[in-house]
């Protein structure tokens, strides 16, 4: 007892009634991991900006990076849940390929009798594809959760099965092109309902900068919303007598985030505005951040990933939770498959193959633990962008594909190694 009291003192257990601001250094150190990852992404982007002679930050290229990585990011959201729960899903690449093939067959491949022709409508077909994806995930999840077959094996089997199935329903051929409405999912941009704004004073080589005004308005609304919500949270914490981060850090953090959002919005707006797929992605990211941080479902995932037995003995329905996670993963793989197919404008038998590895790599670079219980949505998204920016940057630089693979492998290893090294040092 004496050894325990000595370290903290008798008053340490008392509840703080007076709100304090934490020290700047302490607050920075506490959030080092989160900021570090974002900083790494920015540094990598600046690195390629320099070595691609300014191509990386061109509006058209930034838009491209988002389009190229959208399906990885969509799947990494689900994979984060799977990995935090202590599982893995190797089937997502094949499932996305299969669903892309199914979408193609529904919309253009199969000749439906007139009374079933509605099935080929892009919205109906899209909904069917999502349901099929969720059902595939649920089936795998059922075997993993209730029959305790390791996820590695179940989804490895799934990978082979759905690889074969997409070959089978496409009969080995590419099927396309898709109806224009479906292509909009990946190729479209939100309409500029307000109308373009011309900025003549930023003219370059006699070309005026024309902004997609709606994009800018949405960005500004988003920034105001975020600022309002963080000010409110801070005030509520203070009112209840809890410590808050130092005001200087609070302001800097919000200003930096606002500046970044504004900068990227400006870039996108000076090309063609917000891509449709970025809207879908943005909504999904927000939903998954909320789910993992604020909802009981998310909390239970962390609990069962951290200690399955303790979670079960705390009344968490671990089987059911696992089952839902895989169903969600399946639905996201289906969405990613459709985005991928819409982007290529055709479904090919090879589509989606190997994507699972990019997705898993993104989640691990984002700081998730292979043992479960640890990982953040923001980390996974940043991890996916780190991979995406490297792909993009190295391609522009003309780095050969063999070197690209090796460099990506080294980055994955280094990221996880560094993460573990940091953890061991702080423990």
């Amino acid at each position: 007892m004496t050894t325990e009291t000595a370290s903290t003192g008798p008053g340490a257990a008392a509840q703080p009634t007076q709100s304090h601001e934490l020290s700047l250094v302490g607050a920075l150190r506490a959030n080092m991991r989160d900021y570090g990852l974002l900083l790494a992404l920015i540094l990598i982007m600046l690195f390629f900006q320099y070595f691609t002679n300014g191509v990386l930050f061109k509006p058209v290229n930034l838009t491209n990076i988002i389009l190229q990585n959208s399906y990885i990011i969509v799947m990494s959201l689900g994979m984060l849940l799977v990995i935090v729960a202590g599982h893995i899903d190797l089937s997502v690449g094949s499932v996305s390929g299969f669903v892309g093939a199914l979408a193609a067959m529904l919309m253009v491949g199969w000749d439906f009798p007139p009374e079933l022709a509605f099935l080929a409508h892009p919205l109906i077909a899209g909904a069917i594809c999502l349901v099929v994806g969720a059902a595939i995930g649920a089936a795998q999840g059922y075997i993993i959760a209730y029959h305790r077959v390791p996820a590695f094996i179940v989804t490895l089997a799934g990978m082979l099965i759905f690889k074969g199935l997409s070959l089978a329903i496409l009969a080995g051929k590419s099927v396309g092109p898709f109806p224009a409405e479906f292509q909009m999912l990946s190729a479209g941009f939100i309409p500029d309902v307000i109308g373009p704004t011309t900025l003549p004073w930023l003219a370059e080589n006699g070309q005026n900068v024309v902004l997609h005004t709606t994009t800018m308005v949405i960005a500004i609304l988003a920034i105001v919303g975020m600022a309002f919500s963080s000010i409110r949270t801070r005030a509520r914490r203070k009112a209840r007598g809890y410590d808050v981060e130092p005001f200087s850090l609070f302001v800097i953090k919000n200003v930096v985030i606002a500046a970044l959002v504004l900068f990227f919005a400006y870039m996108l707006a000076s090309y063609r505005g917000l891509p449709n797929v970025l809207v879908v992605m943005g909504v999904l990211i927000a939903v998954f951040v909320f789910l993992t941080k604020r909802m009981t479902f998310g909390r239970r995932i962390y609990a069962l990933g951290g200690n399955l037995k303790a979670a079960a003995l705390s009344g968490i329905k671990t089987e059911r939770t696992t089952f839902y996670i895989f169903a969600i993963m399946g639905a996201l793989a289906a969405l990613a498959g459709m985005i991928y197919a819409a982007r290529l404008n055709s479904a090919t038998p090879k589509a989606g193959q190997g994507l699972e590895l990019d997705v898993i790599a993104a989640v691990f670079i984002g700081g998730a633990s292979a043992l479960g219980g640890v990982g953040q949505v923001a980390g996974a998204v940043i991890g996916a962008f780190i991979m995406g920016v490297m792909n993009n940057g190295m391609s522009i630089m003309g780095v050969n594909i063999d070197w690209q693979q090796m460099i990506k492998g080294v980055v994955l290893l280094a990221a996880v190694f560094f993460d573990l090294y940091n953890k061991n040092r702080s423990a």
Binding site: M1, T2, T3, E4, T5, S7, T8, A12, A13, A14, Q15, P16, R236, R237, R240, Y242, R294, M295, T296, F297, R299, R300, Y302, A303, G306, N307, K309, A310, A311, A312, L313, S314, G315, I316, K317, S369, G373, V374, A427
Partner: protein
């Protein structure tokens, strides 16, 4: 005067938050059986782990002198190389390998990496004969009982040319007969010049077999007794070191009506369908009452509690559970919790806590409904709750954001308690609530138990420490081989009386 084979000088070992050993001295003479006694958590096992290199040289302070030379063991293999072999409480055998394979594990009878199976079997047979085990060396470990497994461990030690054999609680899970055989074996080894260190709670065994006894209390070596001085009373006095009254906070029980009742509870082993683990157990708890279940290890206490708590153990479970006179459904953990039952496990690290998460999340996990609406958690309400229970259970940490894995055992146990208190149960089952935590923290846990009882909760305490049960409960059940072997008010109970009812039940069973 025989010479000293081992001398440990000024051993100090600190874990985060707890000083497990402080300036311990131990000397062991060649060819003797040296017993180490002490309460749970006194530091006996830690001392032996320091000796055998489980805690490598450098992670503790002090000197180890073995056969006249100072040793710096970096790992178990270093100490085994010198002939020091430790047999842990939890046996380190691979269940799906054969006896022979286990005996020579890591020490295979091989030439150039190719195993010589004839040599292996012959060697194993010879060693098995030495320990008096009559089994085919090809039998799988999983197919023999715990007592025989213990002997295989000893055979394994012999294969390593053991000179100093350390046995950590070797007879804790053995039947009387197997214990007897093991003790005889140690005496046999003594004639062959093998030195043994034996850690045991069974004082009658120690007083019979030990040449000398060292008593450890609260991480300090209290004294070493020679043969002529060894008596059970003397050991107990030395172990406890203070009167029983100081160790348990006083309370005035206010016992009300029956709130919790289990009737005719039967459970079968989860793997072996025909093996009945719990037989016709019926117990009841009253409002504000602290009831204990005493019994030896393996008597079925934990299995009983876990099977009641959402069928977390066993199969073919039958029986009825009543809370406040209502028959309730406890078929899942979730339902058991919602019906007012909480179970704090005996193994907090494996079954109780998410060690990689912080106090706040661990506190609310069994009752997330309490801090959420429509599945959305109210962060500040959760923070309030966590801080509230951190204060109530007196958890010593920098804040509720401290990761639970970094807390001391006592504080971890308080987090487990916080979690179950926050679930607000009527009935709280505490399985070994003070296992492996230091004396001060124990006192605090007892205080919390008393407060809960005063608030009208019914508390069932399962403990292997009889003084603890006698110190904090109002009434006792004695369990043996899955049955209730006796029931008595604590005021009329004593350690002898409890043991007698266990022994009587054994007599009936056989």
């Amino acid at each position: 005067m025989t010479k000293t084979i081992l001398e440990m000088r000024g051993i100090t070992k600190t874990f985060p938050g707890v000083k497990a050993l402080s300036d311990v001295n131990l000397d062991v003479r060649e060819g003797e059986i040296h017993a180490i006694c002490g309460e749970n958590g006194a530091g006996k096992s830690t001392l032996m782990k320091v000796l055998s290199g489980v805690y490598p040289s450098g992670s503790y302070e002090g000197q180890i002198v073995y056969k006249g030379e100072e040793q710096h063991f970096k790992s178990i293999s270093d100490s085994e190389h010198k002939g020091i072999v430790i047999i842990h409480q939890e046996l380190a055998l691979v269940p799906l390998l054969s006896i022979a394979e286990n005996i020579f594990l890591g020490n295979e009878q091989a030439k150039g990496g190719v195993i010589d199976w004839d040599e292996t079997r012959d060697g194993a047979r010879k060693l098995l004969k030495m320990v008096g085990l009559n089994e085919d060396p090809d039998t799988l470990i999983t197919n023999i009982g715990v007592g025989k497994q213990q002997l295989v461990e000893i055979a394994k030690a012999l294969s390593k040319q053991v000179q100093l054999l350390i046995l950590d609680e070797p007879t804790a899970s053995l039947s009387e007969k197997d214990s007897q055989a093991l003790i005889d074996l140690l005496l046999e080894f003594k004639t062959q010049g093998i030195t043994s260190i034996i850690i045991s709670h069974k004082l009658n065994e120690i007083s019979r077999v030990a040449d000398r006894v060292t008593v450890i209390r609260d991480g300090r070596a209290i004294e070493t007794m020679d043969t002529q001085d060894i008596t059970e009373d003397r050991i107990i006095t030395s172990m406890v070191g203070r009167s029983l009254d100081d160790r348990y906070p006083a309370r005035t029980p206010q016992v009300g009506d029956v709130v919790f009742e289990v009737r005719n509870w039967n459970v079968y082993h989860p793997q072996h369908r025909e093996r009945q683990i719990i037989r016709d157990v019926s117990i009841n708890l009253r409002k504000g009452e602290v009831v204990g279940i005493a019994g030896l290890m393996g008597s079925g206490r934990t299995e009983f509690a876990m099977s009641v708590f959402g069928k977390s153990y066993g199969q073919k479970i039958s029986g009825e559970v009543f809370v406040n006179g209502q028959k309730i459904d406890t078929s899942t953990v979730d339902k058991a919790i919602r019906n007012g039952i909480a179970y704090a496990t005996e193994d907090r690290k494996t079954y109780g806590l998410n060690l990689i998460d912080h106090i706040k999340h661990n506190t609310t996990i069994a009752n997330l409904i309490g801090v959420s609406k429509w599945g959305v958690i109210d962060d500040l309400a959760e923070l309030d709750a966590a801080n509230d229970y951190r204060k109530k259970t007196n958890i010593r940490s920098s804040s509720v954001y401290q990761v639970v894995g970094n807390l001391s055992g006592g504080n971890q146990q308080k987090v487990v308690l916080s979690k179950w208190l926050y679930a607000n149960p009527d009935v709280l089952i505490l399985d070994e609530p003070t296992r492996g935590i230091d004396v001060g923290a124990k006192y605090e846990i007892y205080t919390i138990i008393n407060q809960l009882a005063a608030q009208g909760k019914a508390i069932l305490v399962i403990s292997s420490e009889m003084p603890e049960l006698l110190g904090i409960t109002d009434r006792l059940y004695v369990m043996n081989e899955g049955r209730i072997a006796g029931e008595m008010p604590t005021s009329e109970a004593s350690q002898e009386k409890i043991m007698r009812s266990i022994v009587r039940a054994e007599g009936k069973a056989s």
